[in-house]
Amino acid sequence: MNVFTLGFVAAVLIALAPVLLAALGGALCARVGVFNIGLEGQMLLGCFTAVAVSAKTGSALLGVAAAVGAGVLTALVLAVGTIRFRTDPIVLAIGTNLLAVGLTGFLLRSVLGTSGTYSSPDLAGLTRLGDTWVGDIPVLGDIFHSSSWVVVLSLLLVPALAFFLARHPAGLRLRGIGENPEAARSLGVHVDGYQQTAILVAGALCGLAGAQLALGNVQLFSEQMTAGRGWVAVVAVMLGRGRPGLVLAACVVFGAAEAFGFRLQGLGLPQQATDAAPYVITLIALLLTSIRRPKLAGGNP
């Protein structure tokens, strides 16, 4: 069976986009030395806000904008807490993740008047590129058939972020802050400002990721619908060591493993095996790449 069809690529792409957006945000934080595990919660709040606003206004674009805003707002707690008050970023992020679960569940009842899942004809989803002129382009039209512009944006952000880090003065400063914040501070660089900005941008990207998930991948909100995607993004950031290209690669490995798993299930493998597949494949990929990584200094004879 040939599983690697254009349809397969398209499926991976869509499943990948929310994770990639969040992971790019996480990568930015990693580069300024902030370990951000609040991606899941910010994404979830993004999902809810996108759906709530889109349903009330009938505009997907407003939904996306509001989701980005919600992501930034949540990230503000992290930014102020970890940078200004020097709290532990991990504990604080666990707090905001939990807050997102509680808040979206609560607001789902009080704002959208339902629980579990909300979907409605009033809900405007993101336009599928297949329905636009893009759909007429050969190959690309097939690959991006059910993608939205947010998916394309997420892909474009990878080289953009890489270029920014390598060639923009602020990129250089960000990298330096991640490596040695004291050194950056001693040169009069506003370290706290850069770190806070990075956390806020990550919040915006997570909000966007949530909007894509809730208005692009599907058009609905469902409690805890992020279902661990923010955590996958965190793993991708760690695997990619904060480098956009490597982070993308990690996301692709994971997304492809998952989509591949669906197809293997079709061949009769138990669901439990295909559930585990992405994680096992990621672990194996890590082990294989580690063979080429230089041995760490020190260690015992």
Binding site: R167, H168, L172, R175, N180, L187, G188, P301
Partner: protein, 493 residues
């Protein structure tokens, strides 16, 4: 050349109960090299940080060229022409020399980094300063001396004509120090002010024009260098006469406590190194020639091939634990990152390694810590205080106390007096000599030739990972060691 470039007037800075600077006046005149000396914790770094804008004084004024300025961040100080090289280098090790120099003041073209212009400007600076640096080299691969040049270039790139150097020679080799001083003098001749914080009084005499002495936050003396001498400076700093002990008592040499044979690791190839009970064996060499690697391989922190015997036992296949069990104590070079855990209490720092089996009784640990702290004169904190709250000299005393307490047949000590004041040096030297007198062996690796000459029974000179000479105490002079290094370097190159 008496024009005042910067003047600190009546600076007071408190850290809680500690008055780090107490109504301090300091005038820096254009074209002078101004030494600032004092004991550990006297307030030197604090004063310099005030000048550099990274610490805000509680009161007092800063006058730049006669007008009052206020530095609320290094950025403001940099803009006012002030540059600082910190004792612990503030560098991005993964980045190139160029990126390190331009960081925070990048040349841009259409909003993006202008790498070509950056490289050109850094290359020009490198040439002007007379440095062998390559602008494209990765900083992490450079030896300490060159890293320091990067730090100085950073300041010069920003147009600094006031250059603060906080203990710049602590990590330098004699050759690197000489080079640095030549550069300092050249900068001063061009009108730059150099403020030099140091513990080495002979350096003060050698390079400075004027000297200010701090004691417990106050200025206790300020004078032209020509009107003073190291002895007088030490007395001004500590309030007593300092008598640096030397190795002048014979001791009974016993069995070998360390035998290294045919050891290879990295660039190091050590044919033979033997330390016997009752002797201090020194290793001299320019940093980057393999001394650290040799020590790390010897103590088991670095993989190697070859044979290492400690107190007669073959420990070649053992890790640090096994070697310590065989009879090793070790004072590492980096007391902050390796020699202690800054976030644990002094008590825990002392107990680790001594108490590993069975039940720990808090009262016993406390007594153990209090006893060691008393015997080794660790000041300024109780056993419960965090390690990070100790001053450099006191932190070193804690490390030394813990290691000496093992009473191991072999003590390996790496730069044990780096960054500590004359009083502490006096104490550490005496401890090392006492350890030898008690019939133990000491392997002493030091960047300070004077220290080796004061203490060692025999000095091995290391160049390019190999021993090129072994000089016995009778023949031990700076000149002999220097010659050995130069000869070897010439032969090798």
């Amino acid at each position: 050349m008496t024009e005042s470039r910067v003047r600190l007037a009546g600076i007071t800075k408190r850290f809680g109960p500690v008055v780090a600077n107490d109504d301090v006046d300091l005038e820096l005149r254009a074209g002078e090299v101004h030494a600032v000396v004092g004991e550990n914790g006297a307030g030197k770094s604090t004063l310099m940080s005030v000048l550099y804008g990274s610490v805000r004084p509680d009161s007092g004024q800063i006058l730049a060229r006669g007008t009052e300025v206020s530095f609320d961040s290094p950025r403001a100080a940099i803009a006012a022409g002030i540059g600082m090289v910190h004792q612990h280098f503030q560098l991005f090790e993964s980045m190139s020399v160029t990126d390190n120099v331009i960081y925070g003041a990048e040349p841009t073209r259409r909003g993006l980094l202008d790498r070509r212009r950056a490289r050109e400007r850094v290359a020009a600076l490198v040439e002007e300063y007379g440095s062998p640096l390559s602008p494209t080299a990765t900083v992490g691969s450079l030896p300490m001396g060159l890293r320091q040049q990067v730090e100085i270039l950073k300041a010069l790139y920003r147009g600094a004509d006031v250059l603060i150097l906080d203990e710049p020679t602590a990590v330098l080799t004699p050759a690197e120090t000489t080079l640095l001083f030549t550069s300092i003098r050249r900068l001063a001749e061009r009108g730059t002010v150099v403020a030099l914080v140091t513990h080495k009084l002979d350096e003060v005499m050698q390079v400075s024009d004027r000297v200010t002495v701090l004691r417990q936050g106050k200025v206790v003396a300020a004078m032209p260098t020509t009107s003073t001498n190291p002895r007088a400076l030490a007395r001004a700093m500590t309030g007593r006469d300092i008598e640096i002990a030397t190795n002048d008592q014979p001791s009974t040499v016993g069995a070998a406590v360390l035998e290294v044979t045919d050891l290879r690791t990295g660039m190091v190839h050590c044919d033979e190194l033997v330390v016997r009970a009752g002797e201090i064996v020194g290793i001299a060499g320019v940093a980057g020639n393999g001394q650290s690697e040799l020590v790390q391989a010897t103590v088991g922190l670095r993989p190697s091939v070859g044979s290492v015997r400690i107190a007669g036992r073959d420990v070649s296949r053992e890790d640090v634990r096994g070697r310590r069990a065989a009879g090793l104590a070790y004072v590492p070079e980096d007391r902050g990152a390796v020699g202690s855990a800054r976030s644990l209490s002094v008590q825990d720092n002392l107990a680790v390694g001594h108490y590993r089996k069975g039940w720990l009784k808090p009262a016993v640990l406390r007594r153990f810590a209090a006893d060691l702290m008393g015997r080794h004169d660790v000041r300024g904190a109780g056993p419960d205080a965090l390690m990070s709250s100790l001053s450099g000299g006191n932190a070193q005393k804690v490390v030394l106390a813990r290691e000496l307490e093992h009473r191991a047949p072999l003590l390996v000590a790496e730069n044990p007096t780096q960054g500590v004041d004359v009083g502490a040096i006096e104490y550490i030297h005496r401890e090392l000599l006492d350890y030898r007198a008690a019939g133990h062996g000491v392997l002493l690796v030091s960047n300070e030739l004077s220290e080796l000459i004061a203490l060692a029974d025999r000095v091995h000179v290391m160049v390019d990972g190999r021993f090129v000479a072994a000089i016995d105490r009778a023949d031990l002079t700076e000149q002999r060691v220097g010659e050995a290094m130069t000869n070897a370097t010439e032969v090798l190159s």
